[in-house]
Each structure stands twice: as structure tokens, then as C-alpha cells.
Amino acid sequence: MKRYRWLLLRRTSQLLVLALFLAGPYFDTKQLEPPADASESLNLSPIGGPVAVQSAEPAVSTGPGLGELVEGSLNSADILGILPLTDPLLFLQGTMAAGWTVMGKTAVTGVLVVLLFYLAVGGRAYCSWVCPVNMITDFAHWLRTRTGIGRHKGRLSGNERYLLLAIVLVASLISGVIAFEVINPVSILHRGLLYGLGLGWAILAALFLYDLLVEPRGWCSHLCPIGAFYSLVGRFSLVRVRFHDERCDRCGDCFPVCPEPQVLKPSISGGAPRILSGNCTNCGNCIDICHADALDFATRFRDSSQPKRETTP
């Protein structure tokens, strides 16, 4: 079980986030059904008298039910009707497209809450602990390694995502439309589970096939602008993977399981006591696989007890 400890926690977290949002529609406290057909909603009052259509007001709900725990979606949400949450990249695009003032106070508060949270737990913890698309792309990667489909190496460097990040921001500025939302697979999937997917399944299927057949870990580790944004946040975030240099026997098992293997290099080959790259998703795959217990979670600050590696000339 220890072998899959962080993976199981991660899946639990991802599913829990989904469940909290899905609780809304499923435990909905809406009590008034819309009229089933036209005749029911017809007002049969004498002509000339102004009539209110809502003769039956929806019953007043008694306190927040399970449906009001978390409302909205990953784009913007509301916890218990008190705490707003807003996707910072979305907010940034909106600011580009419509201006700062239109966004408003609630959205700004929501962005600050989200930014503070990910500054604490690791920028791309969003990718590995929250984002529902991660389950699709992880499945594609698992299938890829299991079946040996597309054993070729990837062609992308991983810097393409920053280009895409810049493009969605500039495109928002040019067009006045929040650009990425047209194709954003994360919100299409998340909203799809809440309100219906429509043709969104095609975008998700394309993403899955791309990761399976074309580029290994193509979307999440190379292209996704949300990941790019959180990578920038991750450069400053508190929780990071700690590396115990003296315990590591350089077996290299952590590299193939890591979605961003380049982040391990400074530690495994250079002895850096923390994995500080913003690309690290804090997924814990490396911690799970390490047989020497050389990796665990800690804060980004070096602890005094940790021995410093002797620098080789």
C-alpha cells in the first residue's frame, strides 16, 4: 500500500473535489419544478390585471444543505456562500479582455484565496491534486507504458506551454473574449460533469489520443497554459519535495514515474536538497517509488539538520 500512498491520496483528493461540486446538482434544494407544459404557466386572470408569474415562490431553504457546500465550478466557485474562489488565469484573461474594473471585488478576493492556497501547497498541486483532466492524461500515460503503444520519445520541450500561456493572454487582449475558455479541456470536462458535456467529449477524446499516441504526457507536461501559469506560482510555493542526498543510491527509478522528469535532475545528479522547479506538481510519484526513502514532502526552506553535500571539485 505504501507503494501507492500518494497516488491514492491524490486520486481521493481529485474525486473528492469532483464530488463536492457534483453534490450541488444532486442534492439540489431547488423545490419548484418548472412547469411541465405551456398551459400550466398560463395566467388566467381577467385581462388588464397585472399578474405576477411566480405565484408559487420557491420554498425558502433551511440553511445551507449539501447542495450549497460548494457551488460553481473550477472556474469560479463559492464555498458555503462565504468564500469565493476564482481561477487566477481566467481572471487574468478577463482582465486582459474586459478590464480590471469589470471583474469586480468578489473575483479579486477569489483569486487571492486561490493564489495563497497554491503558494502554500505548491503551484502545480492544482494539476496533480485537483484537475480532473489529470486522471484522463494519467490514464493515457499508464496505458501507453503498459501496452507499449507509441514507445517513441516526445518531441516537445515543455516550454511550449509558456508560449501558449502568452498566446491566450494576448489573444484575450486582442479579441476581448476570454480566449482559452473556447477550448479549455479542464473547464469543459468539469462543467460537462455538472451541466452536460455536449461535443466536449470530442475535445477530451482528442486529448486522450494525443497523449496516448502522439506525445507522452503531451498535454499536462508540455502544453497546458493552466499548468504553465501554476508553474510560475510554484516557483515560490512553500511545500516542496525534499531530497535526502545521503540516502539516495541513484537507482533512477524516480525518473520514469515523474511527469516532469527534468525537475529531478538538480537533486538526483546535483544533490539539491529541494526540488524547487515550478514545474514539479507535488504529485508524490517519486516519493512512492523510492525504495531508499530519499524523497519526502517538506517546506522549501533548508532544515539545519540536513547535511550539506560535499562539493566535488
Binding site: P25, P50, D78, A97, A171
Partner: protein, 222 residues
């Protein structure tokens, strides 16, 4: 071959990046600009004009979640409405014009105008009785179903009496743009298979006189 210097490589990379961003965002931007073209769908009450709405709506669904009647739908890819944005299809479920406007209260941004205090101020669209060839009232029957369903009876909608000589008269449902909120009850209840009255994007159907025109005859200022 001379090896490229670090500076030259850096310059080349910067140039490629800038070119990539410029080309990518221009093409994407032009495509997105097309999203704004054509008639806007019916947005929830208080929504900004379509141009500004697409830049400020976070596509989060909080308005839809708080609509007690599930009138607000969230657009999916391929639905013809900008992906993830809320819209109303009155033929299915019209806007019930709640007095407390919960959808607007739920909106986390200014995409829905918080300055709108009364639901009667909403201008989601404008109802137009567009088909006089199928509308039963125009065929001489006293249908008036749309008129009776109008939440703003006698202000947004009236029955205009048009005598037809000795045969009788037509009793014609008539929409008044100065009061119609575009809630869509008329479209919802029209008893035809395809409604003869529908709510349209205001800019699609509303004419506008030039500023130099005088006001209509009968106006005291003329």
C-alpha cells in the same frame, strides 16, 4: 561552420518566441472575434452587451446553479453559443423574472450588471411576433395565449384591436419594446408547433432612427 554565439542564439530564440506569440495570438484573436459576430443568444438578466460579456463572464455556472427554475443553461462545445457561457432557451424554460434576481447576485464578476436593481429593467432580448401568417390572432381567432402569459401584462404586451368591417375584428398581441424584458414567456407558451412569437437579440430586430429625426407625430415636442 562557425558555432553560433550565445547572444545570437538568444536573439534567435527571442525572435522566434515573439513571432510565435504574435502569429498565434493574432490568428486565435481573429477566430475569437468571430464568436462575437451574429445574433447574441439570450443571456441571463442584467448581462452586459455580448461584446463585454464574452470578456468578463468566467463561465463558472454560478448563475445557472442559483436559478430556481433551471432556466439558465451552460453552453457546451457545438451548441452554437460560446462554450461555457450561460444562456436561456425560453421555448424550453423562460426566465421567471425573480424579484431578487438570484442569478445576478451569484455572478462573481461584473459580467452581470449589479447596478440593475429591478428585474423589470432587464433587457435580455426583445419579443417579436414575427410570423403573422401562422399566428392565430392574425388569422382572426382570439388566441392571446402569449399576451396572457406576459409577466408585464399591459405594459410589455397589449392587445391591439383592429376592426375588419362587418366581419368582425382582429385582436392582435402587440409587444412594446420600452417594457419588454425578453423573459420569453410569450415564446414559451405559444401554442403553435413553432412559435409565431420569439425573443430576439435586441440589436438584431430593433431599428434606430438617426439623431436628426424628429420624434413621432403626436409627441408634444414636435
Amino acid at each position: 561552420m562557425r558555432e553560433k554565439s550565445g547572444r545570437r542564439r538568444f536573439l534567435a530564440l527571442s525572435l522566434r518566441t515573439v513571432a510565435g506569440i504574435t502569429i498565434g495570438s493574432t490568428l486565435f484573436g481573429i477566430y475569437l472575434d468571430g464568436e462575437k459576430a451574429g445574433a447574441a443568444p439570450l443571456r441571463p438578466p442584467g448581462s452586459l452587451p455580448e461584446e463585454e460579456f464574452l470578456g468578463s463572464c468566467l463561465r463558472c455556472g454560478l448563475c445557472a446553479k442559483d436559478c430556481p427554475y433551471d432556466a439558465i443553461r451552460m453552453a457546451t462545445p457545438g451548441s452554437g453559443v460560446a462554450t461555457g457561457t450561460p444562456y436561456i432557451e425560453p421555448r424550453k424554460i423562460p426566465c421567471y423574472m425573480c424579484e431578487d434576481i438570484p442569478c445576478l447576485q451569484a455572478c462573481p464578476t461584473g459580467a452581470m450588471d449589479k447596478g440593475m436593481k429591478h428585474i423589470e429593467q432587464a433587457r435580455m432580448g426583445l419579443a417579436v411576433l414575427h410570423d403573422q401568417e401562422t399566428c392565430l390572432a392574425y388569422l382572426g381567432q382570439r388566441c392571446e395565449v402569449c399576451y396572457r402569459a406576459c409577466p408585464l401584462l399591459e405594459s410589455a404586451m397589449t392587445i391591439e384591436y383592429r376592426p375588419l368591417g362587418p366581419q368582425g375584428a382582429l385582436f392582435l398581441p402587440t409587444v412594446h419594446a420600452e417594457a419588454c424584458t425578453g423573459c420569453g414567456f410569450c415564446e414559451h407558451v405559444c401554442i403553435l408547433d413553432e412559435p409565431a412569437i420569439k425573443v430576439y437579440d435586441i440589436s438584431t430586430v430593433k431599428g434606430e432612427r438617426g439623431a436628426h429625426y424628429r420624434k413621432e407625430t403626436g409627441d408634444e415636442t414636435v
